[in-house]
């Protein structure tokens, strides 16, 4: 019998754990200077909270066998938003919170069974700001964290932005049944489905044009205004992009507005975005987020507090995008404390303690060495580069 972790569960080695900690700390240091406070939401929640008022499908949640319907969190926003609406409801707004932790998503495996996809996430939530100032702070913070992460160069990072109001404007001419079909086709970029829809030819052509409408935000908004009319949301988004664009350029990130882009979780009711890197192969979504005022409403926030925006980074995906030489690994650079047959382990432990007090990383060789040369030969094996010989 072999003992393996459950399919999809993470079983990290020391180097991966260390890299996770380095990345989490790099992100946290930026969150802190922006005035965000750390919270630790529960991993286990009631299904009603996890489903985020219908935003998340129960098949995406790993359910627990318990007396009441419980599950493992598939993301952290719903839990933090619940706290913001309840025990933190009286805290002054804007309320700035951040959290790091594991999330669990339920996936259907190839053999038809269920596998758990476990991911380490780090993200922020900003509550109580109704206007576009929230998006401006959030995206500026996101772009600043990009610099702190010290990722590999030339990753061709893009910030893909959509807006649920833009999608609603596009879907406005359709009845409820058609609306879901068209929305699904647009989100999945399923051009053939749109082409085969039995709808007015002119409306179909607008849909096909909208499907291809993406790129430089100001140009896209101008194109959209001609396709679906000059709406208030378009003017509001123009202001956001005027602010964000120079910051993005400074950080080497290309901003792309894509009206038909929507994420997998239907949490959001406003701006939605994903930060995407292109390494050697497929594009990798390293961070995602958006505005979720509707969720705040469903969680019972007071009317003047029904505002929330946030993003989260996937640390597991970032780990592969840090250059090896920038890895702050402490596995090398250690001192091996070894002792001769004339001394005892207690002497070596005393010496190790002295080194620790000086802030040095030292490990002790538990068995005595016959000669100093024998101890030196152990250095590489013990992953140390210096010997402290107790004789």
């Amino acid at each position: 019998m072999t003992f393996q972790p459950a399919a999809g569960a993470r079983d990290l080695n020391p180097q991966q754990v260390e890299r996770n900690q380095v990345l989490s700390e790099r992100l946290a240091s930026v969150y802190r200077v922006w005035g965000y406070e750390e919270v630790a939401p529960p991993r286990v929640e009631r299904m009603s909270t996890l489903k985020a008022g219908g935003g998340i499908d129960s098949k995406d949640i790993v359910r627990l066998v318990a007396g009441e319907p419980l599950g493992l969190r598939p993301e952290m926003t719903a839990s933090i938003a619940r706290a913001a609406c309840t025990r933190l409801a009286n805290r002054p707004r804007p309320l700035r919170l951040w959290a790091v932790g594991t999330v669990f998503e339920s996936k259907e495996s190839v053999d038809g069974g269920i596998s758990i996809e476990e991911n380490l996430q780090s993200g922020v939530e900003l509550f109580g700001v109704h206007d576009i100032a929230a998006e401006m702070e959030l995206l500026s913070l996101l772009l600043e964290t990009m610099e702190a992460l010290e990722l590999k160069e030339n990753l061709g990072t893009s910030l893909l932005i959509g807006h649920t109001s833009l999608m609603n404007l596009i879907l406005k001419p359709f009845c409820k049944v058609q609306r879901e079909i068209v929305k699904k086709a647009l989100i999945n970029y399923d051009r053939l489905t749109i082409e085969t829809l039995e709808i007015d030819k002119e409306v179909k052509n607008i849909l096909l044009s909208v499907q291809e409408c993406r790129g430089y935000p100001i140009d896209v908004l101008t194109d959209l205004a001609t396709l679906i009319g000059e709406e208030k949301i378009i003017l509001s988004l123009k202001r956001l992009f005027m602010t964000i664009e120079p910051i993005a350029t400074e950080h080497g990130v290309t901003i792309q507005l894509d009206p038909t882009f929507q994420p997998h979780f239907d949490l959001y009711s406003g701006i939605v975005f994903q930060l995407v890197c292109q390494d050697n192969s497929a594009p990798i979504v390293i961070a995602k987020g958006g505005r979720y005022d509707e969720l705040m409403n469903r969680l019972g926030a007071e009317i003047n507090n029904q505002a929330g925006v946030g993003f989260s980074y996937s640390i597991d995906k970032l780990r592969e995008l840090i250059p090896q030489n920038k890895d702050n690994s402490t596995s090398s650079g250690s001192i091996l404390v070894a002792f001769s047959s004339d001394k005892r382990l207690e002497d070596a432990l005393k010496r190790q303690n002295e080194l620790h007090k000086r802030g040095l990383r030292a490990i002790v060789e538990l068995n005595h060495c016959k000669k100093r040369d024998e101890a030196i030969s152990l250095l590489a094996k013990r992953n140390c580069n210096q010997l402290d010989w107790v004789d």
């Binding site: 893909l160 970029y189 051009r191 489905t193 291809e212 993406r214 995407v276 292109q278 497929a282 979504v285």
Partner: protein
């Protein structure tokens, strides 16, 4: 670099022809002596991955290939998150329910409840019989499905029918079609969204 997933087998020759029209020459994959599974185009702009039919949507869904050519039957069976871009028209066939010629069944709804149905495409079959509200026991076979009714392992089969000759030669008859299938150009949705025009150019050329 653009990566394209091509299905080995019946669709390969036509797929290569259509990509050639879009300026990507992968004719090297048609060379009977070729043993390479990743073949560069003659212009060096793209690579073709030579994979099994059912693996095309997998490579595209994971984004390792930005584009791919695969039959609609495979897309319906696998339900992978890929964007269907162009109906390429070739590789035409139909997914059908077939029974023994002597069985007397004329429509799928006449099959007895809980009868056994053999198929390689169990998801398509499940969906079809669910919509008919007819409970059946599905038997998954990976090939030579026509043997199902002959050997008695199943009373009916759900399989692809091109000319109908294999069915006829094995004493079977198609009684109902599930859907028509042709080759489709598919793409990775996120790569398509991030495309700076290179993929779009190929898609447009393949559409015409």
């Amino acid at each position: 670099m653009i990566t394209v997933a091509l299905a080995k087998g019946a669709l390969l020759k036509d797929s290569v022809t259509r990509f050639a029209k879009a300026g990507l020459d992968f004719s090297a994959v048609l060379d009977p002596d070729n043993r390479q599974l990743m073949v560069p185009s003659s212009c060096g702009r793209a690579n073709a991955l030579l994979v099994r039919n059912g693996d095309v949507p997998v490579y595209v869904a994971y984004g390792q290939a930005q584009l791919g050519v695969v039959g609609y039957d495979v897309l319906r069976e696998q339900q992978m998150p890929v964007a269907q871009l162009v109906d390429l028209g070739f590789g035409g066939c139909r997914m059908a329910v077939a029974v023994k010629e002597t069985s007397g069944y004329l429509r799928a709804a006449e099959l007895p409840p809980h009868c056994r149905v053999a198929s390689k495409f169990t998801n398509c079959a499940r969906q079809f019989f669910d919509e008919l509200d007819l409970p059946v026991d599905l038997v998954h076979l990976t090939g030579s499905v026509e043997l199902g009714p002959i050997t008695g392992i199943a009373e009916a089969i759900v399989d692809l029918v091109a000319t109908g000759r294999t069915l006829k030669d094995n004493g079977l008859i198609a009684i109902e079609d599930l859907f028509q299938s042709t080759a489709r150009l598919v793409g990775h949705p996120l790569s398509l969204r991030l495309d700076r025009g290179n993929l779009q150019e190929i898609i447009e050329a393949m559409r015409s």
